[in-house]
Amino acid sequence: MLVSLKWLKDYVNIELTTEDLAHRLTMSGLEVEEIKTVHPQFSGVVVAKILSVKPHPSAERLSLCTVSDGVQNYPVVCGAKNISQGDIVPLAKVGAIIPGGYTIKSSLLRGEKSDGMICSEAELEIGDDKSGIMHLPADLPLGLPLEKALNIEDTVLDINITPNRSDCLSMIGIAREVAAITGKKIKFPTVKIKESNEDINSLASVKIIDSDFCPRYTARMIKSIKVGSSPVWMRARLEAAGMRAINNIVDVTNFVMLEMGQPLHAFDFRFLEKEKIIVRKSKENEEFISLDGKSRTLPADTLLICDGVKPVAIGGIMGGLNSEVKEDTQVVLLESAYFSPSSIRRSARKLAMPTDAAFRFERGIDPEGVVKALNRAAQLISEISGGTIYKNYIDEYPKKIPLTKDIPLRLDRIRQIIGTEIKAKDVTGILRSIGMVLKQKGKGTYLVTPPSCRVDISREIDLIEEVIRLYGYDHVPVTLPIVDVKEMELTPRLDMEERIRQLLTGSGYTEIVNYSFGTPQAADILSLPENDERRKTVMIKNPLGEDLSAMRTTMICGLLETAKKNANNGSFNLKLFEIGRVFINSSKDELPEEKNMVAGLLTGEITDEFWCSGKTVDFYLLKGSLENILFDLKINNCRYIASSIEPFLHPGKSCGIYLNDKKIGFLGEIHPDVLEKIDFKNNLYIFEINLDILEEVYEKKKISYREISKFPAVMRDAAFVIPDAMEADQMINIVLDQKEDLLEKVIIFDVYKGKGIVEGKSLGLRFFYRAPDRTLTDLETNAVHDRIVQNTVNLTGAKIRT
């Protein structure tokens, strides 16, 4: 909220410097976000008097004036018609600067000397009136700089009002706070109504059909008004508050809203058919054209202000075009009402009309301020537009708006919450300074009634907040809680994530964080089949864009996109990983399933500076990284199954990863078709693993030490020629399944195809034999080794390569 200090000073004396005031407000909960100084857009313009006006000898539309600034007389050629001898006007002297950066120079106009310029409001950007020269009050001293004469300079505080403080959405509300924190008294504007003899009740009536939405509706009528522009002072205030001046009737309603926090509306009475106001809820799809000229289809249950025939305003949000105040309006019906906050909020949201009025109604206005504001506005309209106020006002008040009374407040509880003792005297002083009424009720307990404007206060804790806020957070001593000392541990999954993070960064991978939402085309890019779980996408109803509308069901698309973006930036050698969640729509539950995943990507050269290797990344580098992770997590029984094919992976260079028959993920080279779709040149290798499944195993894994043998191992090699289709894993398993106690381990030392091998491939296995209690003899070793080799040959049909 923009608060003009000049305006604020109408209601409370301020002796603090602006900076001090801003600091005190901020530290009591009204955060001053910015201090702005308002300067006039001109300089060198003074108050002057027209001494004479003569016609220009050679230009019909110009006149020659002699103008005095009290010291000197100046000849000025002027084109405006609304000037005559004796007028007090603004004079831009030679050297003056007027808005737009123009400097006034001495000149000849059609042969006549002109030493200055008499200005209109518009020319000085004080107002919109460009119809003629601005006339100033006759009692201003000549020669006084205009900015002083009009008191234009101002300081504006931009205050962030939190949603609970609806009472501060007005100048008087801010003044109340200032008065409380500075110990000053607040000066309310005096409202005097001069009524005519004609009673409003004989001319108009109000009927509330929906009292839940509108518990109270008050109205006054003013006749014989003259619509025009508002006086400079009012326009200056509206503009300081960030509002545009419109005309003297609308401006008054806005001014009083800013002053007192009560939104108001003025109807041109001519257009209220049957001289009636009826307040009701809309039916579904009623059409209505609002003040801003927009045609709107109203959802059901929008509060409508109607006349005897048709809607004339959307209650609490915006008036209608059909009944707005026009230049020739003579009689207005002024509305001041209380609308239910939640109904206004619902409608304003549905209609996307966050107007100033709606903003205040939905936060809750002062129920006791409705009539005050009505009278204040009637008075100002009558003063400014010369209107006459009809006798009495209409006050339809079918439903009592509840006010909070007698909230119990215990001094003990204050100490419990704050942690320090505040004296009873200070507590009561603070509460009284913001208009609370206190009654003592036994020792250390009070009954507190907040002022009607503080609709946010209904509980003891609300009162305690007021006490501590005005006591000053800075004055609360710092303490430390007395709690059991215990250091906590991460959950197994977070611990696991941390280890993976360490390991992958150590292996050269850099962590990325992608948005959890992306394009709904992701599943198509990955060519996922119709029945794939990853097509059960959770969609955002109100996304920032279509390409950010689908919650990811896999992390792969994000990685591919990141690789693509980096390649576009010239980074082709990438090792990336991401830890995060994917979301699978659930038909059973309200909430989707969230799975924790880790995914990685490799592309390009193994290192950026590949002078020494010149090797590009491949399937086995990626697999090695994965094996490292699983090794670190002590998960040793994963299987890599080539027949488990993902549609977006190269069918010959990819596999599923299984743990105890559960698929935990996949790895492989990206399918050329997908590369083509995303327009990526180099090969990409990716993996994705479900961490939730790993977690189940990880938790239970305990290390138990196995004794290291003191005796040497014996090595034997054997090369088996096997069919191409046969996997290394199968061979190893056949060997291990023989469960020879002396076989410590078997590794693959060679895979060979080519010269000497007619068909299939040669797989070189190295066997390590060891006994825990003795050195093996050749005889022993050979016996076991030959047995294993022979069995393997028998089981696989492999040939031994010699």
Binding site: P163, Q416, P481, L494, W611
Partner: protein, 338 residues
Amino acid sequence: MINELKQLEINALAELKTAKTEEHFSNIRTKYLGRKGLLTGLLRNISQVPDVEKPLLGKLSNELKNLLNAKIEEALRQQAIRNKEDVLLKEKIDVTLPGNAIKCGRIHPVIQIRREICSIFVSFGFSVVEGPEIELDYYNFEALNIPQDHPARDMQDTFYISDNVVLRTHTSPVQIRIMEKVRPPLRILSPGKVYRRDSDVSHTPMFHQIEGLLVDKGISFGDLKGILTAFLKKIFGENTTLRFRPSFFPFTEPSAEVDIRCVICGGNGCRVCKQSGWLEILGSGMVDPSVFQNVNYDSEEYTGFAFGLGLERIAMLKYGISDIRLFFENDIRFLKQF
């Protein structure tokens, strides 16, 4: 004859000095000490020497022999060392070429901040907990005292999945889920991704938050100040100045915004702190009794405080980053800097 012996010594030593190769040395050995060598030749004429001089001559010639042998041995040893060194020097490599181990990757800067903050609170006895990122309206709003049609909903622009399901706008719903299951006392920290419908230089539709909650008997606003002061001094340094000022969050009362003296300008006013000299770092407050009521905690018996902060904001201040979107563009040139 003694003189001849002396002369022989001088010549031999001179020759040894100029010798370079192994061959030279063995030639010298042969020339002087060989069977047909000069010393041997000289001694062959020993019969012509008077008897009295014989022992002396014998001794001297023996000494010369030993001397030359030792010299040659030593020279050969040196030569062998030199030869080996020559071989090694020929294998000299360019040590300024870059190493060829795979270069380390980096942890995402926001995650680094998350680890740092988590480890501080873990050392204060908080346990780290998590909750769903797609959340029921009830947990994200209602249970946190933000009813439907309440203006406080404006504080967080929300992504909706359905009328009843949202992308969580803060990590606070985790509070509720934990409190529903666990009785006090409670010290929890919930880090995670949160989502708000917003996108510009200082907002991304997804960002990271950490929310903390401490509930016990006798927890006061003074304790809130104490814990958060200790935390912020750990993160931003012992000399950090901070202030607590009143604010509003629907689920805490009283609520406090915590500011630190601007780390960029030191409080003199700059663009980052909007000339105020202060930076908003976290929101906090005493848990509102109505939140306790929603989870069946007795607010007369237990009090507590909660706080929440945005990790990107902390990272931006720590690293001087002015555009939050950089965190999610994942440009490797950006990520490698942390």
